[in-house]
């Protein structure tokens, strides 16, 4: 269990200090929870609270770059942040938690009911990372989840501002864990669909993208049937719903989001 805390003063100090027995702590809403296995497994926590340069929001030539330590409430209150990202940030219903939780922490937490990852993934967000060798690199958010970047510090997130993007989240109450959070974006190349399915993981719905791109007039019934019989989808019965329910929800949500996108101005 972590008994030590390092108050890093710079991103470099934080990145260099990240060893296998250390974990970053940003807003602490995941790490500091009673019974958190992140704090249980680590010996040292590296607090990012006093790190300089991780908290600004800059808008430039159609892109917005958000410091990893920006809180959900910072996103909601900033006039530089696009509406689709504010909407995803408001999925975190509790204002007190929005005052604490950060965008970097949400991405790194990789939860299967993630608030922001579906929207950031559909938007093709780019992360800036800092490794223990203090070399900075930029990668697409989807690449971040392949496991090779776990020890790196996320320093910022860049998204395109003027994109068409819509999201939906299903939970019993505003405070509950969501069974499905799904986002879809569209540009001249086609539609992009990403989601988070509770207890399943973060998903990129390539088959659905292809189906909508090949036939924009495809019927809802065909989409429902496609997801119902999809063998690549590892949904199972659990307390969040049956396998059949989750598949149905993914299908009708994908159809709804696509319909919304078609009628949506940038």
């Amino acid at each position: 269990m972590a008994t030590k805390l390092l108050m890093a003063k710079s991103p470099e100090e934080a990145a260099v200090s990240k060893t296998a027995s250390a974990a970053f702590v940003a807003g602490g809403t995941e790490v500091n929870r009673l019974g958190s296995d992140i704090a249980e497994k680590a010996e040292t926590l590296i607090s990012l609270k006093k790190c300089s340069g991780l908290d600004g929001i800059e808008a430039d030539a159609g892109y917005v770059t958000i410091g990893a330590m920006c809180t959900f409430q910072d996103l909601v209150e900033s006039d530089k942040v696009p509406g689709w990202l504010k909407e995803a940030a408001l999925f975190m219903a509790s204002r007190t938690k929005r005052n604490m939780a950060t965008i970097g922490g949400n991405i790194a937490a990789r939860r299967s009911d993630s608030y922001l990852i579906p929207a950031l993934s559909a938007a093709g967000a780019v992360l800036e990372l800092l490794g223990s060798d203090t070399k900075a690199e930029r990668i697409g958010i989807v690449e971040y989840f392949d496991g090779a970047y776990d020890d790196k510090l996320i320093t910022s997130v860049t998204v395109e501002k003027d994109i068409r993007l819509v999201s939906k989240r299903y939970a019993n109450t505003a405070q509950s864990h969501a069974v499905l959070t799904m986002s879809a974006a569209m540009d001249e190349m086609g539609v992009y669909m990403n989601g988070a399915v509770k207890n399943v993981g973060l998903l990129h719905f390539c088959d659905l993208e292809k189906a909508f791109n090949d036939d924009p007039e495809i019927s809802e019934d065909k989409i429902i049937e496609m997801v119902r019989t999809c063998t690549g989808l590892e949904t199972a019965d659990d307390m969040f719903g049956s396998d059949a329910y989750k598949r149905y929800l993914i299908a009708v949500t994908a159809f709804d989001l696509f319909k919304q996108l078609k009628g949506k101005e940038v």
Partner: protein
């Protein structure tokens, strides 16, 4: 492994304090165990219920998932800081009493701290916004309506809308007479 300690300097309810804390200690533990401010409740300790809410530099935080060492240099308010020198209740506390917004009282300090931020924001929240602003708090007893009404009435009074505050009905809806005498 040996624990690590740090000295924290901050202001709590207007008083400057210096406190030695375990670096993994939560702000809830520092406020309750070291400073004996027991209005700060331990409900879930996972950021779910809002019972531990305190105001840090003007904004509400769940103190159970906030490290005490992060309080260095901060200005913190708990429910104890809202009462007057003779123990007089602040207007938001009195409104909770008047509207029957308390039963067992466990959630009440947390609710009042968030409400205090709301009523002092100078902003007029819509009913919908007000419900959302209170949504980080759980109450097992009251059914929320009385709490909502207490906060709404106090917010309106803070904005100088005393007559409108009296028109808030038992469901929390403002029942304007026809024709509306003000606005």
């Amino acid at each position: 492994m040996a624990k690590q300690y740090k000295v924290v300097h901050c202001t709590v309810n207007g008083k400057e304090i210096e406190q030695v804390v375990d670096v993994r200690e939560s702000l809830t533990d520092m406020l309750r165990n070291d400073l004996h401010l027991t209005s700060v409740k331990k409900g879930c300790e996972v950021g779910e219920c809002g019972a531990c809410t305190v105001i840090i530099n003007g904004e509400g935080f769940n103190s159970c998932i906030y490290l005490a060492v992060w309080a260095e240099g901060k200005e913190i308010w708990t429910l104890e800081g809202l009462t007057g020198p003779g123990g007089e209740l602040s207007d938001i506390q009195q409104a909770f009493v008047d509207e029957g917004a308390i039963q067992c009282g466990f959630c009440t300090p947390g609710f009042i701290m968030t409400s205090w931020e709301i009523v002092n924001s100078g902003k007029e929240y819509t009913d919908d916004e007000l419900r959302k602003a209170l949504s980080g708090h759980l109450c097992r007893c009251t059914g929320y309506e009385n709490i909502f009404r207490a906060v709404k009435k106090t917010m309106l009074r803070h904005l100088g809308k005393f007559e409108e505050a009296e028109l808030v009905n038992s469901q929390g809806i403002t029942e304007y007479p026809d024709p509306m005498p003000f606005k």
